[in-house]
């Protein structure tokens, strides 16, 4: 049962990492334009150099 002492914290830690990643994504506004993100992925690369349109928030 000693393995539990490592495995449980490890599992919880991994879960927390996922949660932290989600909360970070939420905070940085990545969930604000879901439709737009789906469309933009097809256009990237050919966008003219637009330093101005980079996200600043």
């Amino acid at each position: 049962m000693n393995s539990l002492l490592i495995l449980i914290p490890l599992a919880v830690l991994l879960g927390l990492l996922g949660l932290a990643a989600f909360l970070w994504a939420l905070r940085s506004g990545q969930f604000e334009d879901l439709d737009g993100a789906a469309q933009r992925i097809l256009l990237d690369g050919e966008t003219p150099s637009l330093p101005a349109t980079r996200r600043k928030t």
Partner: protein, 800 residues
């Protein structure tokens, strides 16, 4: 240079000739563009080096035809530290290519710091260095490309909504994380009950669960705790109260059990419950937020800045809120008059149908009183603002609406009624359980408390709290897909109780805009030209309402070049054969004798004269919506009583009523009169749905039991209505009513299911048979059943 680039646009390669910009079908294969607007747009795109747009787009034909829109938006710009900011609604975004085109076209300007389109909300955030005066040029690029824009206020209410949505999502994430982990540990504990797990291991798992669940409950439970507290302070109970109490008690008891080394802890129940409820609540908020946003956008597209003539002759652009009494407002041809006032200069014809319901345009002269909301059909005029703020007709109507809305605000939904009963019943049951075990069966106090708490946990209204919201979400997203926006949370329920439908005439039964109804031309002329096509080609470039109607009559007509517009008179175009004119009788120089034959015709008219033809007369009137008659018939077939209520004159209303098959009608109604008529119907026990679009309908919309309004309606009517529907037909009214009834049925079934589940589970809990495993299974399964039942509503769509 730009022309050479344009030639490479792909539309040329298609078999059928199509406009290289908007993809509309062309009558003449030699042409490259359907109109000047498209040609200018394509030249602009090529000039900016953005012609990759044409390869990337996946758009439906005709959506991008530029109509040109001259607008000074500088009044909406905020400037600080030399940086100007403007937020716009953009209409006409079809796919990612449009987003790319808009952003790239703007970013080409050296001063633009940021141009970012939110494709979900159709909003553009624009920042540039320099003053507000640059706005016109920047926005001009967008309108030249065929996008319609409208200024948009980042309202505080909107931000609060977005914040609330984000908060819910955060709570949902935390609850989801905790629920998954605690449930994993719980499965271990449950299987351990068979005997393979020692008490020390079980205790360890319980403590780990507590460590995860308690902070998560504190975070994820906040929305419920707050709402329950608010309700308590107001002296009411709501669904969140038993939820809060149940979750808190479950957590407290589990800590006690864990500390005392007992086998049963309910951490998993508490956190899974919150997780399920948060899913329902998040979806609910999102669906409602999206509908409201769409409605706001429709309204925003109708708001325009007001042009004010200053005493020194300069023109200033202001927002409507900032117009004061005495200001001279300029109203161009085809524009809506923004204020109540008196005409200071100019004579024109105005369409007051939005204000009075009167369908025929009125001639007005200097000194005549005009009301906000009327449309100027003729010459440009100057209006001296007579009243602002409280004394306008608009404010009077707003007051009537407020009074009516107060009455409606008292409406209590079915879910609330159940909740009011539910909380006391559940808590009494818990108390009785404790008393019975403690006194009758002489259990220890600890045991009795545990059984009582089990009752509260098992009755925690998970399914009950989901029963109605899930139905709402499914129904409103289905409606949203059909262009019907549900604005009020209780609208669906109120709509399901309707037995009488009251329709407005102008703009509701009819399209609310002039349409070509008759062409009067002699045979020789008809042999020489196609009058409609010719006139339509001339009219393509104008924004006058009658010209737009003419253009709509033959939308594929080829636009003429070099058409000159004489405001308030007409259009003329000189061709090698001679001059063509389309416009008023006087402008076209129609002989009095010919005109006399049409003197008795009250309809709006346009005349067309040109080389080699005799004058052609086009008559316009406000045509009936295409599906008005079948919809009215269908409503009656479903047992609704249909009435017609209009501010127009009796004979016009009677004719309309007969045309669509409505028996009960009332004409010459004032705005207050309409509201009184609805109140009278309500007093007789009728549940009335009002369908209307005008300023004069707004109080009636607010006074009705439920109300619907087309998206072509004035903004105040849309604000008052519960439901805003898009499109040209009335069918959405029927569809909304049908779905409301179906949704209410499903909601009732769900409530019965949820209460039935409790009726089964409570005896188990009272008997002391509920273990965490039983609680988890019962709770999840009841929630899933309720959700599955609600989803049937979405599936019906496929069948119908």
């Amino acid at each position: 240079m730009s022309v050479a680039l344009v030639l490479e646009a792909p539309a040329v390669s298609r078999a059928a000739a199509r406009c290289a910009h908007c993809d509309a079908q062309l009558g003449d294969p030699a042409q490259r563009f359907c109109c000047h607007g498209c040609e200018a747009a394509a030249t602009l795109v090529a000039g900016l080096g953005l012609d990759a747009f044409y390869r990337r787009r996946i758009l439906s034909p005709g959506t991008l035809r530029p109509e040109g829109q001259e607008e000074d938006l500088s009044a909406f710009v905020t400037t600080s530290d030399g940086v100007s900011r403007l937020q716009l609604h953009v209409e006409g975004l079809v796919c990612g290519a449009c987003v790319w085109l808009v952003e790239s076209a703007l970013a080409h300007d050296r001063d633009v710091l940021r141009a970012r389109v939110n494709f979900s909300t159709r909003r553009l955030r624009l920042e540039w260095t320099g003053g507000p005066e640059r706005a016109a040029a920047l926005v001009g690029r967008l309108t030249a490309l065929g996008f319609r824009v409208a200024p948009f206020d980042a309202e505080a209410e909107n931000d609060a909504r977005a914040r609330q949505e984000r908060e819910l999502l955060r709570a949902l994430a935390v609850a989801g994380f905790a629920a998954a982990n605690v449930m994993l540990l719980s499965v271990g504990v449950w299987s351990g009950h068979a005997g393979s797990m020692g008490p020390a291991t079980r205790e360890l798992l319980h403590w780990v669960s507590a460590l995860i669940a308690l902070p998560a409950i504190a975070v994820a439970g906040l929305p419920f705790f707050r709402s329950a507290l608010r309700a308590l302070r107001a002296g009411r109970t709501n669904m969140d109260l038993p939820i809060s109490i149940g979750v808190t008690l479950a957590a407290c008891m589990s800590i006690y059990q864990t500390a005392a080394g007992r086998p049963h802890a309910f951490f998993d129940s508490a956190i899974t419950l919150l997780f399920f409820l948060l899913i329902g609540r998040y979806l609910d908020t999102r669906a409602r937020g999206r509908a409201r946003q769409a409605a706001q956008q429709v309204v925003a597209l109708a708001t325009r800045a007001v042009r004010i003539l200053l005493p020194d002759g300069a023109v200033q652009v202001r927002r409507a809120e900032f117009v004061r009494v005495g200001d001279i407002v300029l109203v161009a041809s085809g524009e809506r008059i923004p204020v109540d006032g008196v005409i200071a200069r100019g004579a024109t014809t105005i369409d007051q149908s939005f204000v009075t319901g009167e369908a025929l345009p009125q001639s007005v002269d200097i000194g005549a009183q005009v009301f906000a909301g009327s449309v100027n059909l003729g010459q440009p005029i100057e209006v001296a603002t007579r009243s602002a703020g409280e004394s306008t007709l608009l404010a009077e109507i707003a007051r009537l609406m407020e009074a009516a809305e107060r009455a409606q605000g008292r409406y209590v939904t079915l879910a609330d009624r159940v909740a009011r009963l539910y909380a006391p019943v559940v808590h009494v049951a818990g108390a009785l359980t404790f008393l019975a075990w403690f006194f009758l069966f002489e259990a220890s106090a600890e045991e009795a408390v545990m059984y009582a708490v089990a009752v509260l946990i098992i009755t925690c209204p998970c399914a009950l709290a989901l029963a109605v919201p899930v139905v709402q979400v499914v129904a409103s997203s289905r409606l949203l897909g059909r262009g019907i926006l549900l604005k009020s949370a209780t609208a669906l329920e109120r709509l399901s109780q309707i037995d009488t439908v009251v329709l407005d005439k102008t703009g509701t039964l009819t399209c609310g805009r002039p349409d070509l109804v008759a062409v009067c031309a002699d045979t020789a002329t008809r042999a020489a030209i196609d009058p409609v096509r010719t006139a339509s080609g001339l009219a393509q470039s104008s924004r006058h309402p009658l010209a737009r109607a003419m253009a709509r009559a033959a939308p594929r007509a080829v636009a003429w070049r070099d058409v000159v517009e004489e405001p308030g008179a007409g259009l003329r175009c000189t061709t090698p054969e001679g001059e063509w004119r389309l416009g008023s009788r006087v402008f076209c120089g129609v002989a009095a004798k010919l005109a006399l034959t049409h003197a008795s015709d009250e309809r709006l008219e346009l005349w067309l004269v040109g080389p080699g033809i005799s004058p052609v007369r086009f008559a316009f009137s406000d045509a009936l919506r295409r599906d008005a008659k079948p919809v009215v018939a269908a409503l009656r077939a479903r047992g609704y009583e249909v009435r017609l209520l209009s501010g127009d004159r009796a004979h016009a209303v009677e004719a309309m009523a007969r045309a669509v098959g409505v028996e009960v009608w009332l004409a010459d109604c004032t705005p207050g009169g309409k509201a009184r008529e609805l109140a009278a119907l309500a007093a007789r026990g009728r549940k009335v749905a009002m369908v209307g679009d005008g300023l004069n309908d707004a109080p009636a919309l607010a006074a009705a039991h439920a109300s619907l309004s087309p998206s072509s309606a004035v903004d105040i009517a849309q604000t008052a209505a519960d439901v805003v529907f898009q499109g040209d037909g009335l069918a959405p009214v029927l569809e909304t009513l049908d779905l409301a009834r179906a949704a209410q049925n499903v909601a009732r079934q769900n409530l019965v299911l949820a209460i039935g589940y409790n009726a089964l589970a409570v005896p188990l809990a009272v008997g002391g048979l509920v273990t965490p495993l039983v609680a988890a299974v019962a709770m999840s399964s009841s929630s899933l059943i309720v959700i599955a039942n609600a989803l049937r509503l979405a599936r019906k769509e496929g069948r119908s």
